[in-house]
């Protein structure tokens, strides 16, 4: 059996009686880039802190490359790097000193790669941390994480505060890591970033993993948006199996279709359709579908009704 980069079994964290993370079962194979999404307070950071052994689970367990997150933390940490979305650093150290220190603590640094990263992220390492802007501090911890070329990167909103140019540099670095076979666990609110980088996506809501799969799978399971313009009279599409959310605007009909599109196509072909637009949902739409129901408590998740 090859060891997964990350495996969690029934991982649960409660604060008092509130379960912040509930029975998480996750497996991230080596070499995968996994996007980890969820609204604020969903439990993403909690998951990562559990994986790092910074906090202890109320139930369940997790392993990193087969090493227990709690009991074998030191061994596990030799193979990973963690980049938080915001971090306090020692204000009196310079950027270079911070990188030197963290490299020493990690025990392995690819020095030419570190220097390349400093160049790529356009960081002045001679400044004191006290004098860095928020974005520059973020670059510093990003470089500190990437420079050891670990087998696993745990990234928690790693690009918060970075400008679009640096966001590009970050994507470049993740592609590089992927090419080298490194595993990446990326928690992010920037959906385009996740869409561009990730092999699979997990969506967390209220501490529960509500969806998990490749983007293609998730799209397959969700509605397709259709916009049809008719020459003549507009047919009644509401009865067609799989079709929902029908709106009529003159000769233009918009609707959503879930599952097989054939029945709808047959109706349209027979009704003299003049123009047809179909669009796959973007990750944002998929995501909003999940998030949107957050307000309604236990309402069923719309894309998962098969």
């Amino acid at each position: 059996m090859t060891k997964a980069a990350i495996r969690t079994e029934g991982l649960t964290k409660r604060y008092g009686s509130a379960a912040v993370l509930n029975d998480l079962n996750l497996e991230v194979p080596v070499g995968e880039v996994l996007g980890y999404l969820g609204p604020n307070g969903a439990g993403k950071t909690t998951t990562i802190r559990l994986l790092l052994g910074l906090i202890h689970p109320s139930a369940g367990s997790s392993t990193i490359f087969g090493l227990d997150s709690q009991r074998q933390a030191v061994e596990a940490h030799r193979r990973l790097a963690y980049v938080p979305g915001e971090a306090n650093l020692w204000p009196s150290l310079t950027g270079a000193e911070t990188l030197h220190l963290l490299g020493q603590v990690q025990g392995q640094v690819d020095v030419p790669y570190r220097d390349e990263l400093i160049e790529r992220f356009d960081l002045d390492p001679n400044k004191k941390v006290r004098a860095y802007s928020k974005g520059n501090r973020q670059k510093l911890i990003l470089i500190a994480g990437l420079m050891s070329r670990p087998d696993l990167l745990l990234l928690d909103e790693p690009t918060s505060g970075l400008d679009p140019l640096m966001e590009q540099a970050f994507r470049h670095s993740v592609f590089e890591a992927k090419e080298r076979g490194q595993t990446v666990f990326l928690s992010s609110h920037i959906l385009s970033e996740v869409e561009a980088l990730c092999d699979r996506v997990g969506i967390l809501r209220n501490g529960v993993l509500v969806d998990m799969g490749t983007l293609a799978e998730m799209r397959h399971l969700s509605s397709l948006s259709i916009e049809a313009t008719f020459d003549g009279s507009v047919p009644d599409l509401a009865r067609v199996p799989g079709v929902s959310a029908v709106t009529v605007d003159g000769r233009v009909v918009r609707c959503q279709v879930l599952g097989a599109v054939e029945p709808l196509l047959k109706v349209l072909a027979n009704s003299g359709v003049h123009e047809l637009l179909s669009r796959e949902p973007s990750l944002e739409e998929l995501f909003l579908a999940h998030y949107g129901s957050g307000d309604h408590g236990s309402e069923a998740v719309p894309t998962r009704d098969d």
Binding site: L54, N88, N126
Partner: protein
């Protein structure tokens, strides 16, 4: 859509939750808060609490000194004898200021309290003002207010008035207790002179409150500000000491604010005119504080601060090296203080001992401690208790600093890398223990150097032993602190200073009100033997160190098994 257009559209209910723009911070402050006064209220609340606590400590200390003297030296003859023996001691004079009219309750109380409480008050004030001014700013809490209707100048002026309230409470409580004790039977001090005395005793705090605020504007961080103010205090203290102990240099007293306080001479020869200097300096510094606050950036400094530097990586190899580097500036200050103090003690020991010799009551104590001929050592033995306090404070500071690494999340940079919690904690505590031990050793060594400079015959080994004798209590406190940190991280600092305060209280009351040895044993100072006059009791010292090590081990285990705790 703005609220205005909404109301025009006939939706008046939309008017209620008004738009929150950057200029409106009412929604960010607790209900009922007036945004323009919030800095004052927040500063005042903390300053008042702290001022009240210290006011009580000041009052209690004054009351204790006055009433003990009045009840123990009842006859004019006994008072005169004491006065003669004490006033000739230039060593003690150098430390706490000159003695006047020691045959009166007022004179004795002034001599016993004014010098010590002035320095204590100054330390309290500069720590509090840099914390509430610069610390709050560094933590980013002022940004909220300054984004609102308050300008930096106004915010600083408000904080100053909050700090002022703290000083007023300190003075008020000290005055209240002094007046009250003055009215009791054997003491008899007039109320007006008691109030003037309280003013004198707290005027150091007033000046350093303003001084701390000023340094908060000059420096680039709270630590730097505290260091500036602390250095100033150290220099002024040294100047005052030179002025008081060197014939012909008495005029130097006018060059140091601590000398001004001494010149007030409450009870014995009150000189209220000197208050003009004290108020003048405080007001000038306050004014300068407000001016400078408007002239610098939030988070910036008035004095140039190097924002970039060449990398110095020799120490940055891991936790131990980083800790050593981070605490180095603070520790250099402490070590310098301990060494200077030790040197001074050694230097004045001979003269001080001579004055002890002349006192019959002191003779009795001396006989008990070490017999005839041991006066120098006896004096040093008593004085090393003060060194012990310094050294123990190093421990307390190290626990607070370590806990801050956890609270700020900086500790995580280690724990997410291949460093176990046990290793991190052991490194941190190890560095602290080394800092403490070095402090004790420096005190002993410099005490010997001071003594040798006056050809006082005390052996190096006995004074080094006396210095190291202060270490067990400090290590014990370090262990207790680590245990509190492991079990209840958010209250660890309070716990450490609580244990310290408790020990002071017990020592203060020992022999007067407390004789129960179980209770006495709860003080970390109680096992302290007055080395060099008594041989250091290494077995009880060993027991204290063992207690500390066991407590530290338990604390580390607890730390390894809990979640990390933020602020």
């Amino acid at each position: 859509m703005t609220t205005d257009s909404a109301s025009q559209l006939g939706a008046p209910e939309l008017r209620r939750p008004s738009v929150v723009g950057p200029g409106d911070i009412t929604s960010l402050v607790p209900a009922g808060g007036n945004p323009t006064r919030i800095v004052r209220r927040q500063t005042a609340r903390k300053a008042l609490r702290s001022g009240a606590l210290w006011g009580l400590v000041f009052g209690l200390y004054v009351a204790l000194q006055a009433s003990t003297y009045a009840s123990q030296y009842k006859t004019p003859a006994s008072r005169l004898a004491l006065a003669r023996s004490l006033s000739s001691s230039s060593g003690l004079n150098a430390l706490v200021g000159p003695a006047h009219d020691l045959q009166t309750v007022g004179g004795f109380t002034t001599w016993k309290c004014l010098g010590i409480l002035t320095v204590l008050g100054a330390v309290w004030a500069l720590m509090l003002s840099t914390k509430l001014m610069r610390g709050e700013e560094d933590a980013g809490r002022w940004e909220l207010f300054l984004a609102g209707q308050t300008t930096p100048r106004r915010a600083v002026a408000q904080a100053l008035s909050g700090l002022g309230a703290g000083v007023v409470v300190l003075f008020g409580l000290t005055a209240l207790v002094t007046v009250a004790i003055g009215r009791t039977h054997p003491v008899h001090l007039s109320s007006s002179s008691a109030v003037f005395f309280a003013l004198a005793v707290t005027s150091g705090a007033a000046m350093f409150m303003a001084g701390g605020a000023l340094c908060s504007q000059l420096a680039a961080s709270r630590r730097q500000a505290t260091a500036y103010a602390g250095t100033a205090l150290g220099l002024f203290f040294a100047l005052r000491m030179v002025a008081d102990s060197t014939a012909g240099l008495n005029w130097l007293l006018w060059a140091t604010p601590l000398g001004w306080v001494e010149q007030l001479q409450p009870f014995t020869n009150p000189r209220p005119a000197v208050l003009i200097l004290i108020f003048g300096l405080s007001a000038t510094m306050a004014g300068l504080t407000v001016t400078l606050a408007g002239a610098r950036d939030l988070g910036g400094s008035t004095l140039p601060d190097r924002s970039s530097a060449k990398a110095r990586t020799s120490l940055l190899t891991g936790n131990v090296g980083l800790t050593a580097r981070l605490i180095r500036p603070t520790m250099l200050g402490w070590w310098a203080a301990v060494a200077a103090f030790g040197f001074l003690l050694g230097m004045v020991a001979k003269q001080a001992a001579r004055s002890l010799e002349a006192s019959s009551s002191a003779q009795k104590i001396l006989l008990r401690l070490g017999g005839r001929g041991a006066e120098v050592k006896a004096y040093l033995g008593i004085s090393f208790l003060i060194i012990a306090v310094f050294v123990v404070l190093i421990s307390a500071g190290q626990i607070t600093a370590g806990r801050r690494e956890e609270a700020t999340g900086r500790l995580e940079h280690f724990l997410v890398r291949p460093v176990s919690r046990v290793r991190w904690m052991a490194g941190r505590l190890g560095v602290a223990a080394a800092a403490v031990a070095l402090g004790g050793a420096l005190a002993g060594t410099f005490a010997w150097l001071g003594a040798a400079s006056q050809h006082t015959s005390v052996s190096f080994s006995s004074l080094l032993g006396a210095g190291l004798n202060t270490v067990p209590a400090a290590v014990c406190l370090l262990g207790i602190g680590a245990l509190a940190w492991g079990l209840a991280p958010r209250v660890a600092s309070y716990a450490v200073y609580g244990v310290l305060a408790w020990a002071f209280l017990i020592e203060l009351l020992a022999g007067i009100a407390i004789s129960n040895h179980w209770l006495l044993d709860t003080s970390i100072f109680h096992q302290f033997t007055a080395a060099p006059v008594q041989a250091p009791n290494w077995s009880s010292g060993g027991a204290m160190i063992a207690t500390g090590v066991v407590a530290a081990a338990l604390g580390t285990v607890a730390f390894a098994h809990r979640d990390l705790a933020g602020e």
